[in-house]
Symmetry: C2
Subunit: 103 residues, 2 copies
Amino acid sequence: MAAMPDIPEELRRLRASIDNMDDVMIRVLAERFKITQQVGHLKAELGLPPADPAREEEQIARLRRIAADAGLDPDFASEFLAFVVREVIRNHEAIARRDPDGA
Amino acid sequence: MAAMPDIPEELRRLRASIDNMDDVMIRVLAERFKITQQVGHLKAELGLPPADPAREEEQIARLRRIAADAGLDPDFASEFLAFVVREVIRNHEAIARRDPDGA
């Protein structure tokens, strides 16, 4: 591994900001998955289907608008939501495997 | 598209929280990409290589620790960083195509 003892101050500063932002996102993601877990349990209780295509369309449209407003590629916002939702589904499947009766 | 006029209050509340968190993440991602763009320009100026494997290893290790602390799967944190970094690289390539001399 190449040593890089002499990181310029400006680069160090920018990296510290990137790290702060990544920390925020990891913490927010942790909370988001807690909430989707509650949603999963609630839907199971109420007998609602796990997927809700109308809701998902709304989410995508909303995030694309916010991305455009914030100067982020809207396609990336769509991909980001799809990435997170894939993990939500993986979590729900893991819960279903551990608790097949939804008890 | 199936209409779902009667969304339970609890589900509506949880979804509003999910939406708030997604808004935060999209806004933070927009800022993060602004900063990585600055990093890209700075590295080009200073003649530093675009990739820095030691830095990337540190980032992964740090985010895995934060994820574990926050109750998030550390593997998901690694995947999240990889997902974001792929977009950073795509952005850098797009900049390079528009501005092949790094001017």
